[in-house]
Structures are given as C-alpha cells and as structure tokens.
Symmetry: C2
Subunit: 233 residues, 2 copies
DNA sequence: CTGGATCAGATTGTACATTATTGGACACAG
DNA sequence: CTGTGTCCAATAATGTACAATCTGATCCAG
C-alpha cells in the first residue's frame, strides 16, 4: 500500500481529524482501495475499534470522513458499508472532471513558469521511462503530473474537489491494466499538452485535457464493463 | 428560520446522521446562516451539547457534517469554528457552478416534458408575482426553479454538489438585497431560459445558464465588497 | 404460509478519564 | 522598566467504558 501514496496538493483542506481518527481513516481507506474490504461489506464500529486497537469514537469519526470522500455509505441506525464503486459512480465522477479540469488547465497555462514546465517534463520523462511497467508507479506519476498544474490554482475548492475525485478513481483503476492503445494515447496527449502549455495555447490545452479526462474515463468504464461481463459469463 | 427552508432534490444522499445528530446539524446550521453565530466564532462541543440538551457525541457528529458542507472548519486538538464565508469562498463556489450548471441544463433540455415546463412556468409565475417583495420567498422559489431542472439528472453527484453549493450561497445572499438591475435581469433570464427549453435549444440554454450563474455570483460579490467597504469606511 | 413476539447484535447517546492547548503569572535578563 | 521565557492551571478536545435504543432475523402460534 505504501507505494500507492501520492502527495496531495498543497493547501488542501486537512481532514480535521485527530491523530487516531486520521490514521484510522487512512487504514480503512487503504483496506477499501486494496479490496481487502469487499464492496457493500458492513463496517461494524466495535469490530474496527477492536481490530485497530482503539475505541469507538475515533472509528465513528473516521467513518464520517470516509463518507465525505465517498468511500462509505452510512444509514441511520443501520451503520456503515463499503460503497460499491460501480459504473455509474465512476461515470459521475469523470463527468465532473471533464467539466472542471479544463478550467483549471486554462488558468495554469496563463500562469506557468519555466520551472513549472521543467517539472512537468521531468515527470513526463519518468512516466515514459516507466512506460507502464509498474502500474502503481504510473498512477502516482500521472497524478503528480496533474497536481503540478492544479495545485496552485486560486480556486482551492475546485482543486480539492479534483483531488478527492482523483483518489477515488485511482482506487478503481488500480484494479485494471492499461490497454496498449490507451498507453500510447496517454503519452501522446501528455506530450501534446506540454507543447500547448509552452506555446501558451490555453484553449487548446483546455480542450485537450477535456479529451484526456474523457478518454481516461471511457477507458476505465470499458474495463469495468469487461470485468463485469467476465464475471457474469 | 422555518421560511428559509427549501426542499432538496429527490434522491440526494442523506446525511447519514442519527436523529439527534441530524437535527443538531440543522439547528447549528441555521444559527450560522442567520448570523446568530459570528464568523470565526468557536464552537465548543460541551457548550453546544448543553445548549441543545444532548451529549457530546451527537454534537461531534453534527460538526463533522457541517465541516463537510463547508460551514465549519475543524482543526485537530483545537476544535471547530464557524467558517467565515468570505469573497474567495463565494467566488470559488460560483465558479464551480458556472462549470457544472450548464451541463446539467443541457441534459434537462433534452429530457424536459410538457409537465416539467408547466412546473417551471408555474414557479416563474410565482416569482414574478412575488417580485422580490419577500426576499426569502424569492430565494426559495428561485431554488425550486433550478431544482426542477436538475433533480432528475442521472449524475446524482453533480446534482448533489450543486445543491450543497446552493445552500451555502443562499446562506450568504440572505444578507443582501437585490439591486433593481439584477431583479430585472433575473426575470428576463428566467423567461428566456424557459423559451429556450421549449424550443429545445440546449446549447443556448446552457450558455444562458452560465451567464445567469455568473451574473448571480458577480452580484453577490459586489454586495459583499460594498458591505465590506461600508464597514471599513 | 403468515404475522407477530422475542432476542441477539449493533448503533446511538451518556458519563467520565485522559491528554493537548492556551493564556497568564512570575522570575529573570537586558 | 520592559521584554522574554518557563511553568502551571484552566479549558476544552479526544478517547474509553458503558447504558439505552433500534433493527432484523428467527421462531413459533394460528
């Protein structure tokens, strides 16, 4: 799990949880992401407290946080369950990304310094070097790539929203591989994006990002559908 | 306060709070919205528990929820405070609205039934009849108008996001009046919007909504700035 | 097979112990 | 006399233990 970590953008609203509450949040979240906790599985407060050697209040707090991020569903008097991350859920999140990310990108193009671009190229070089050999590493690098663009945006709310969604999507896509076609396209789009940023082509960059996010969403959804069909068939 | 209520869209994710937790959430939220609780005021768990005649756990739960909605800021070991809803905060939220609402609208135009349109026209008639005489009523009607358009959207996430933001903005704009210019514009845009929907002009409707939201944001921000200047001067 | 009493299991609420922060008193150096 | 730093106590957040309440399922009676 530790190699799944990615640094959040600077200045993102902290969880506001206490030490134990926060680490519990991390632990349970990792259990969900890694699949150790099944979709729809009940999350019994007392059990979790026992397992993580603490008491119930920190667990409740962590569950509330996870609910906020979309990893857990809570219903009154019936407790918490692992949210089954289904196709609708993923589609919803991607669609919001398609709306928001281009706007963040457009702003970045107007603000990018040579250092920013150097950073992007460095990360892109690492992505190309890794060339999807280590999927987790790719996921982390790709997230870093986009974080560079978004983290200094004045609209912290939008950036935070993007980050939350990103985390969920990483949790999902972790289960699948990239098709060859998609690999090529990701590299191509990143390169092209850097070029547009260099040229100050804000509109083109924004349009490209929209396409990039949309393609990414479509790709994951197709994988999910395929896996679904395989399970059923 | 009770006349400030507006019905949330159907199928919005429930808070997941228990009975007491949920009502506490409502109470504290109303106190923040109405200004009975000052910006940055500390929210002491024990006090709140006492005041609302309950114990600390439900209060903690309610505060977590309020944090999720953006009404409260929590920092570890230092407790919760009323979030000062400043201009940046409002601008951030409006900008996200400008990105999301047109997309929701576009879809609605393709799906609207004659009943939907009749509903919109009915609400619009009430808005015109009220003609901003009762600002709270206007706020509620205006919210209903947009809810009709968005609440059945397949992207429940986007709709929920919109609703949360809407609630915050209502909390803010409650403190201000509409300028005459803005009143006229709101009415004009609503009428035009209905016409576009009738004609199935999805793109035009989306563009108009973008303009509508942007104008609304600008209006509120100007009011805030004016109030700020008045305080300072 | 239906329907309601019953009961185990879990959530929710209460009381309290522990631990962290904060502001102020006080001593001391400049 | 003023500014600085340390210690301490008040205050409040956080964690623990437990009581109360709710839910869902099981198991009979009809």
């Amino acid at each position: 799990m530790s190699d799944f970590k990615a640094k959040p953008p600077v200045g993102i609203e902290p969880t506001g949880a206490s030490k134990q509450g926060d680490s519990l949040y991390q632990l349970i979240r990792d259990d969900i992401i890694s699949g150790r906790l099944q979709p729809n599985e009940r999350l019994v407060v007392a059990d979790l407290a026992l397992r993580h050697d603490t008491s119930t209040n920190p667990v409740r707090e962590a569950l509330q946080l996870l609910r906020g991020e979309g990893f857990v569903v809570i219903s009154p008097n019936r407790g918490a369950r692992v949210r089954p991350i289904d196709q609708n859920f993923v589609r919803d999140i991607y669609e919001i990304g398609v709306l928001i990310e281009p706007a963040l990108t457009r702003w970045f193009v107007g603000m990018a310094t040579p250092e920013d671009i150097a950073q992007l190229e460095k990360v892109q070089a690492e992505i190309e070097e890794n060339n999807f050999a280590d999927p987790l590493r790719h996921s982390e690098l790709d997230t870093r790539f986009h974080t560079i663009m978004y983290e200094r945006h004045y609209n912290q709310h939008a950036a935070e929203l993007w980050w939350k969604h990103r985390e969920v999507l990483r949790a999902v896509s972790r289960r699948y591989n990239f098709t060859l076609a998609r690999r090529a396209q990701v590299l191509r789009e990143h390169r092209q994006l850097i070029q547009f940023i260099k040229d100050g082509e804000a509109e083109k960059a924004a349009a490209l990002v929209a396409q990039h996010v949309e393609g990414s969403g479509r790709h994951v959804l197709e994988q999910m559908r395929a896996a679904e069909a395989a399970r059923a068939g």
